[in-house]
Symmetry: C3
Subunit: 281 residues, 3 copies
């Protein structure tokens, strides 16, 4: 879900051992904070297949990085993330049934590994939501430990209108976080919600006026990063391990389901309509 925007990507920081540079990502260490920033603002930070794999790798490297105690994900520009870049599917638009199946299966494996990297992450995981969040950028929030959002953020998971199904283990985490009725509101009938509603639903911990967002977020993250690191890992594991097996299982189920959806008529019709609408603008 992406169009041209004005902001230029910020320069990426110094490279971190074990990580290659990936277009659209900036991975840095800031004090005891391991920071992953989406850096494709012109495309509203929509996720390419390379970005999925880059974030996955960064989460794994952070796991083993003893010099930092927490992991932060945020984005550059006025958007947080437009979700899965639908041009990931463009190549297959005119393809044969087999070509579409191949593409769907490739994307499925990449997305499943991406989500598993969140399930397996061992440090406190903080999201700084600097603007609108869409699709898989919203669904994976159920695996974070603390989310700060600007009051300009919004949260939207338009699966049904696109003929797709929920991922990011949201079919497991969202009902636990907000209850089944609010989960269906977001994941089944797909209403867009504001930052304040996301806070009321327990998907966001703090909403901050946009002008103060960056400074408040940085101060908060800095404070969290000073907590005893071994204790943080152990306590995160204690909270997570009760659900881990189920999360891995649900990720498999969701991945199989969305792979089937990507090959369905309802999905193709919806994406074609979306592309046409975009082209007409």
């Amino acid at each position: 879900i992406s169009e041209e925007a004005s902001a230029a990507p910020e320069p990426t920081g110094p490279s971190i051992e074990g990580l290659e540079n990936v277009d659209g990502l900036s991975v840095t260490r800031e004090g005891k904070v391991f920071k992953i920033a989406l850096n494709r603002p012109k495309k509203f930070n929509a996720l390419t297949l390379e970005m999925y794999q880059g974030i996955q790798k960064a989460l794994e490297v952070s796991n083993n990085d003893k010099s930092t105690s927490i992991t932060v994900i945020t984005a550059n520009g006025s958007y947080y993330c437009a979700g899965n870049d639908l041009t990931n599917f463009k190549a297959a638009a005119g393809g044969t049934k087999e070509q579409i199946a191949d593409m769907a299966n490739t994307a499925k494996v990449i997305m499943k590994d991406y989500v598993n990297a969140y399930i397996n992450h061992e440090k406190p995981l903080i999201a700084l939501i600097n603007g609108p969040a869409v699709g898989i950028a919203v669904t994976v929030l159920g695996m974070f430990d603390y989310v700060i959002a600007t009051d300009k953020a919004s949260f939207h998971t338009p699966f049904a209108p696109l003929g797709q199904s929920p991922e990011g283990v949201s079919s497991y985490t969202f009902p636990l976080i907000m209850g089944s009725l609010r989960a269906s509101e977001m994941l089944l009938v797909c209403k867009k919600i504001s930052a304040q509603t996301a806070k009321d639903y327990g998907l966001v911990n703090e909403v901050v006026p946009d002008a103060e967002f960056q400074s408040h977020a940085q101060k908060t993250v800095e404070a969290f990063s000073q907590l005893p690191p071994e204790t943080l890992r152990i306590n995160k594991k204690l909270l997570r391990s009760l659900h881990k097996e189920k999360l891995l299982e649900v990720n498999n189920i969701e991945a199989d389901q969305i792979c089937e959806r990507w090959q369905s008529k309802e999905c193709h019709q919806a994406i074609a309509a979306f592309m046409t609408k975009g082209a007409k603008k």
Copy 2:
């Protein structure tokens, strides 16, 4: 829990194949909406045994109805539903122990099948709560996908004062939706809550001023019904299947428990006191 009210039942719509007319119910198709309306306003839409079975059958017919994409439950008159009609138990009031046991077991099977029809429902299920809701009309809300309530609605499950136990799989769904403390507030110490509190607790998605309730509800339902129907079913199944086995199991446990309660001294004393109070008015 019913007394005489002023509203007359609305005429039932054209009959739907596979469904017989049931006193107190109106089942219609409106566009892509399969609509079940409680239609016994003089008795505050309290549920007779025939109405339980009629709704169960309507939910099953809707499951197989390809011409509609969502199912809506609402009611005619100023009440949503007064819950289980206590006159269902009147016949047994002066009965022998065996007669009471027979009646309790009959009602148990009907209620269990009724609740299973919700667990097994495959379309998005929307409730339009047009007024106060009591007992099983409240507890089954945990199986809905979206609930809109007028600001004149209230929600009350007075099980303990009547010597009864929670049903509608609420002992499973309510703690997941609102947390154990709020669930105990409603189901154990039995406080009545307002529409706004029900929204705060995640049991209601939207509260609408009474004057705008019908038009807003209709517009919302109409919009939901336009989503791709196959995707809706698949996504509902994804969200529901994680809990389905447990829901069926809990329904059995709750049904056995309430059947035992119906035969208990505390329940008989409470219902006798309730009937006496009603007769004195």
Copy 3:
């Protein structure tokens, strides 16, 4: 976490059969209410090992007390409870590795039995939070059925800063009550929350202005105690039994974990820093 405060302990009530007097506790019957009051206000009602065991025993006696229908826990003075009295660990401060391990294992068993007494409690359990609550006084709230708090209360579980891990089965109950993100806010990054926020998070049912707190709490508790007692037990069991096995299992896991933490370097450094800070005041 205790310093000298001004309030004197209130006199304990008449003794209850099967219960010995314990310093810092007052256990009484008031009508149909079985009431346990922390009574060590000069130490902010911090829990000594004797108080853990006294409360455990009182909960067990209440279980078998047919003359009361509900159990209430509250405290005397302006604090609710400062949590685990860190002087419980003072003796081991200069000890050998073996002495520390002995102390940790003793405390672990006492704490585990204490928490199991909540898991196994059969009556509706009401907390009247008359002031700030800290640590295990907060975490066990997930096993209560109704919590009333003064607006002067606050809720804080500073595990990470003290190098410790969550207990009171909070790693299971808190994510279910408030969702994983709010649970991590309290249990992982350890933010202190107000009474109103605790209500928003579903950890408290009612917040009452301090001037009206005692009279409102007493009236509410009195009303609950009039409900049919057998029905209350049965309905509590129905709600609890779905989670009981898991709660007992999680209590074991948490107890093992905190016992390990108590012997860790991060915990010793944190407690030493805390004690030094206290001594300097």
